[in-house]
Symmetry: C2
Subunit: 172 residues, 2 copies
């Protein structure tokens, strides 16, 4: 097993690049919070990915937060290349205009974090994009905290195996 | 709710800096895989943290992977400052010599990823350390993939709330 899989299972998100007319969603496990003030997050994208080309051109992207209902779409977004096929036609989700970036949001996702690229760093076989979160939209899965009792967020175990977040709270 | 918490719940790890004699473990949610070849991971650490000082001096650290049995230790490591108190005395875990870095590993953790710092980048109020994984030790929680049926990995929901990874596999 590769070294990195000892950090798994980890959360799976969708990175949306492009525009509402020509969206390109990609599945990404390698997403991380980086800073509170300013609010920054990072995402590592393989050099060969079509999404990388789009982000380099447009300098923005959206991190969309899927729940288990979207697992099939997550799989499609992670295995089909947007350079060869129009993922929008294959997926069941709705791409909608974001408020502060050109890249679209996904209506069916629990949250959409709109990011402008402020830095990019080559880290081995990936480029690590630092995005400033400039706007956010979200639904019932979030109130004063993520609602794990009623919503099941996706975790990637490895390969085609996924699981979900538990629904019990533990307090140390 | 702060923007970054819309990415939660996310996995929680322990970052171990220092030496086997003077270990300093810190709880960290902001850990991410970055590259397969070479195997790189990243961790964002607040500028004010004592762990940052130790990593800057020694240029290595260990990412230790706790399971739910260690939740109390994870809480201690995340809330006590190693600059003021000796966390080793407060926690129930055993710090052992790592193979390829000076920073120690934790015997009771499911895996220990030994990292040498290859890059550091200031990202807002945190420093993002890129570590090359130079050695690994692990137990029964990993075979050809993480064993979620028998082991419960820790997810941080926010504040004092934690949950665990599910134990059911879903294949899209």
């Amino acid at each position: 097993m590769e070294y990195l899989y000892y950090l798994y299972p980890i959360r799976t998100y969708l990175i949306v690049a492009g525009t509402p007319d020509k969206p390109n969603p990609m599945t990404a496990d390698w997403v991380v919070p980086l800073s509170r003030k300013p609010p920054l997050l990072g995402v590592a994208i393989a050099h060969k990915r079509y999404t990388k080309k789009l982000i380099d051109e447009q300098k923005d992207f959206v991190v969309a937060v899927p729940t288990m209902e979207l697992l099939k779409d997550v799989w499609i977004a992670g295995t089909v290349s947007g350079a060869k096929e129009d993922k929008k036609e294959l997926m069941s989700v709705t791409f909608v205009k974001s408020k502060s970036v050109k890249a679209p949001s996904i209506r069916e996702c629990a949250a959409n974090l709109e990011c402008k690229v402020v830095q990019d760093v080559v880290t081995g076989d990936h480029t690590f994009y630092v995005g400033e979160i400039v706007n956010l939209s979200y639904g019932d899965a979030f109130k004063d905290k993520p609602d794990i009792s009623n919503f099941r967020f996706i975790l990637h175990v490895g390969g085609r195996d996924f699981t979900n977040t538990g629904n019990e709270i533990f307090r140390p």
